[in-house]
């Protein structure tokens, strides 16, 4: 009946603040700006959806927050990335490592390439857990089983002994999500996590994201090219094009009274279908 | 074209040797068969800057003529074995089935023999001369091309543009030559470059063992072998042909490495 606006009466402090992010790549001896003055806030327990067509810079934005962009393409990066008040921009790669995976979880689009093909799911989960938390191997295995159960993996005890190629696409993405969740991150960054999945599995995984966020009280940065998926999952939305922020708004406002022509155009494309 | 200076250096060395080989009859300061027994084993001088060998022949002139044998054997063997190997690999990879199985088992068997021993055996049976060296090294050489090409064809033939070509109604032969081959050419060229180096070493080894060029012919391997007997009193007789072999083989390997880097799709992103 009423619009489902998220419960946000007080004004909490954002857990992640990105301010004037500029990312410049080096392409054949030329400096090419990829991200131009992007700023956004991610609040606790909320989902910020970033949507845009391919080449809009949405994935680069996600990777920039993790500082995961390699220096050959990257020329320089300026601005502020404040995670719980700490500016990640000033941290070295070495200082970032304890944060990646532990505080900031990351989920890739294609789990087949993001999971190591020669290790079992169990090995990868246990390694991830023991990397960040001081637990025995035994405890790590128990934790792995409960994580896989939490993400809805069928027969977790048995499936965890499989290699990635032995799992279906949906199970692989569940395993990937379990890895991202393994150290209870406060922020989960998901880059097109359902794009490689079939529509029935996509629906299941979106449902899973909603449940997990509810139970774990996480913040979610959700990247997608598909506005319909964003409509299903996001509280706030940022529309990107050519590395620029075209429009940011509450999801209800964005879908029902978009301001910018480009947003209306994108919405027109999904309504046409 | 050349990304690293080593590739460039390799190409220049090869060009110098190739020019020396082609124009040896005109450029060489002396006749490579002109024996001056009185001057045998003389050390490098201003007139003979690499010295003279056991028969008093000018080593520099012999090296220039020897380059003709080494380089032409290298190039000819790679051209013939490459053509055979590429054809076999294309057909085998494209059609699969039992011809493929038979061919690949044959390749496995040939690969299981130590190459040089097999070449020695073949040349011994056929008789020691340059033509038989070429034959023996070709018999060994096509295998690596066939295996490489077959593997490449297996991956390329599943690409959609090959399927699109098949749905245009053209013949299999045309698909292999016009559509598949250009897409696997890069690794083949790299392989060919390394193969030339390998063949030059093999030819030198056979000649060193007296199984290559007939005695007296200027050949690097044979020169090395002749120098071996006098290595203590006249080391220059073996050092210069040894250096020549080393330089050429190294140059081809530099070129091969450079080409491989260049053809690597990841290196074009820059």
């Amino acid at each position: 009946m009423t619009p489902t606006t998220p419960e946000k009466t007080d004004t909490p402090t954002p857990i992640l603040v990105v301010k004037d992010l500029n990312v410049v790549f080096r392409v054949k001896h030329h400096a090419v700006p990829i991200i131009k003055n992007i700023s956004f806030n991610l609040f606790p327990k909320q989902t910020l959806g970033i949507v845009g067509e391919s080449g809009s810079g949405k994935s680069v934005t996600a990777l920039s927050v993790m500082k995961l962009i390699d220096t050959p393409p990257l020329l320089h990066m300026t601005g502020q990335i404040l995670f719980q008040g700490r500016d990640l921009m000033t941290l070295s790669n070495r200082q970032m490592q304890p944060l990646r995976g532990k505080e900031l979880g990351f989920i890739f689009q294609e789990p087949m390439t993001a999971l190591n093909p020669v290790l079992t799911i169990k090995d990868q989960l246990v390694e991830m857990i023991r990397n960040h938390l001081k637990v025995t191997r035994r405890e790590a295995v128990d934790r792995a089983v409960s994580l896989l159960t939490e993400v809805g993996m069928p027969n977790p005890g048995q499936r965890m002994r499989n290699y990635p190629h032995q799992l279906s696409g949906g199970m692989r993405q569940r395993a990937m999500i379990a890895m991202a969740l393994s150290c209870n991150p406060k922020v989960l960054i998901a880059d097109e996590p359902t794009t490689a999945l079939d529509v029935t599995i996509q629906a299941q995984v979106l449902e899973l994201f909603r449940t997990l966020q509810e139970e774990r009280q996480m913040s979610l940065l959700f990247i997608s090219h598909d506005l319909r998926v964003i409509a299903e999952i996001a509280d706030q939305v940022m529309v990107m094009r050519d590395g620029k922020n075209i429009e940011s708004a509450n999801v209800d406002r964005l879908f029902h009274s978009p301001i910018r022509a480009y947003t209306r155009e994108l919405l027109g494309l999904i309504r046409y279908q | 074209m050349f990304q690293s200076k080593w590739t460039y250096i390799g190409a220049v060395i090869i060009a110098v040797f190739a020019l020396a080989a082609i124009f040896a009859p005109w450029l060489a300061p002396y006749n490579p068969y002109d024996m001056r027994l009185a001057e045998q084993l003389s050390l490098p001088t201003l007139e003979h800057f690499m010295g003279q060998d056991a028969n008093g022949v000018d080593i520099f002139s012999r090296l220039m003529h020897g380059a003709r044998i080494s380089l032409s054997v290298g190039v000819i063997v790679v051209l013939i074995s490459g053509t055979i190997g590429i054809t076999m690999g294309l057909v085998s990879g494209y059609y699969g089935g039992w011809p493929d199985t038979i061919l690949m088992r044959l390749v496995d068997i040939l690969m299981a023999f130590p190459g040089l021993l097999l070449a020695i055996a073949l040349v011994s049976v056929l008789g020691p001369n340059i033509l038989n060296v070429v034959i023996a090294l070709t018999v060994l050489g096509w295998v690596s091309f066939a295996r490489l090409v077959r593997g490449q064809v297996l991956s390329v033939k599943e690409r959609e543009y090959i399927q699109a070509a098949r749905t245009s109604g053209q013949s299999d032969a045309r698909i292999m030559v016009v559509h598949i081959f250009p897409n696997i050419l890069s690794p083949v060229i790299v392989q060919a470059t390394f193969s030339v180096a390998g063949v030059i070493i093999a030819e030198s080894s056979l000649s060193f063992l007296g199984l290559g060029a007939p005695p007296g012919t200027p050949s690097w391997g044979a020169m090395l072998s002749e120098g071996k007997q006098v290595i203590l009193e006249a080391p220059h007789v073996s050092i210069f042909p040894g250096l020549a072999i080393m330089l050429v083989v190294m140059a081809f390997n530099f070129l091969g490495d450079g080409l491989r880097d260049r053809f690597d799709p990841k290196s074009t992103i820059n």
């Binding site: 209800d252 494309l269 | 749905t167 250009p182």
Partner: protein, 324 residues
């Protein structure tokens, strides 16, 4: 005289691949990809073929164009069995039947120029250089590209433009039947929209019959006349495309429709019933109805008897489900 002639009739198409399960089981196991597909395409229609990845829709397309001939079953093109034994038969068949592939980055030979890629189609059939050039330019113009494309390589184009080149290649010989295998699914939405509009206009200009394969039910509903939905190598429903989203009856088809994200955040909480589980990993075909392990409505006969396609109404709506 029939009103609509059948341009293509597939009967009981079966396709299986042998699995190499180690030394001991060699040749024993087979993955069944198509389990007896029968499908008729009428001249002039756009037939949709929907289903999720691995359901066999691309395999069926490849069986029809003989890229991967079926293990059993019969394919009739214009009432005649397709045989491509001689070079002549091959040329004649592929002049009439053409295919567009999913990934325009993979379907164009990276070493050939666009002019050569399209022109080759004509030269194979013996066209003169002058005729070839004219026809290529005409085809390029029809897909919205100009003569500057001729001397460019595929990598110089965007995804949408490459797909236009692929369409020009498929249409340059004026085929009768066009098989489009997910032709827009690798493109951005806006580009998808433009390519679909292009295909609509070319369909009438070239007087085409189209088999349009897609996982996107919205796209099928918009573009096609009729559609078949496949699940694990069988057709589970055959329905006119404009009724698909509203009148689809098979539980799997309903699940597909309900899984489509709704583009309105206000509707988010009105959650539909989602099917649980996933398609079994290759080879493990369930007994009875292939969908029964995931089906919310399964009852007695489902795990024993395989349901056959049955007409629901007088029109061509057919469903393979024991519920109906």
């Amino acid at each position: 005289m029939m009103i609509s002639e059948n341009i293509l009739e597939c009967t009981d198409i079966i396709k299986h691949f042998p699995v190499r399960g180690g030394i001991w089981r060699k040749g024993r196991n087979r993955i069944h990809v198509l389990n007896g597909i029968s499908l008729t395409i009428h001249k002039g229609e756009i037939m949709g073929l929907a289903g999720e990845s691995g359901c066999g829709k691309s395999t069926l397309a490849k069986a029809i164009v003989n890229l991967s001939p079926p293990s059993a079953g019969q394919i009739l093109y214009n009432g005649r069995r397709v045989s491509l034994d001689s070079a002549r038969e091959k040329k004649r068949f592929y002049k009439d039947v053409q295919m567009i592939f999913q990934d325009p980055f993979a379907s164009l030979n990276p070493r050939h120029k666009v002019g050569g890629i399209i022109g080759e189609m004509l030269r194979i059939h013996g066209a003169s250089p002058a005729d070839t050039e004219n026809a290529v330019l005409l085809a390029l113009k029809d897909v919205g590209l100009d003569s500057s494309a001729l001397d460019k390589y595929p990598h110089e184009f965007s995804g949408g433009q490459r797909q236009r080149v692929a369409i020009a290649r498929a249409l340059v010989n004026h085929p009768k039947l066009l098989i489009a295998d997910e032709p827009v699914s690798s493109l951005d939405l806006a580009t998808q929209h433009r390519i679909i509009e292009l295909l609509k206009s070319l369909k009438s200009r070239y007087d085409l019959t189209v088999l349009f394969i897609s996982h996107d039910l919205n796209l099928i509903a918009d573009f096609c006349d009729r559609t078949a939905v496949m699940y694990m190598g069988s057709i589970c429903e055959l329905i006119s495309a404009d009724q698909l989203l509203t009148h689809g009856r098979h539980p799997y088809v309903r699940a597909l429709i309900d899984s489509i994200p709704i583009s309105d955040p206000r509707m988010r909480m009105k959650k539909r019933t989602l099917v649980s589980g996933e398609v079994p990993i290759a080879g493990d075909l369930p007994t009875g109805c292939a969908f029964h392990p995931r089906c919310p409505h399964r009852f007695d006969p489902c795990d024993v008897h395989t349901p056959r396609l049955r007409s629901l109404t007088a029109d061509a709506h057919q469903v393979a489900c024991h519920l109906y």
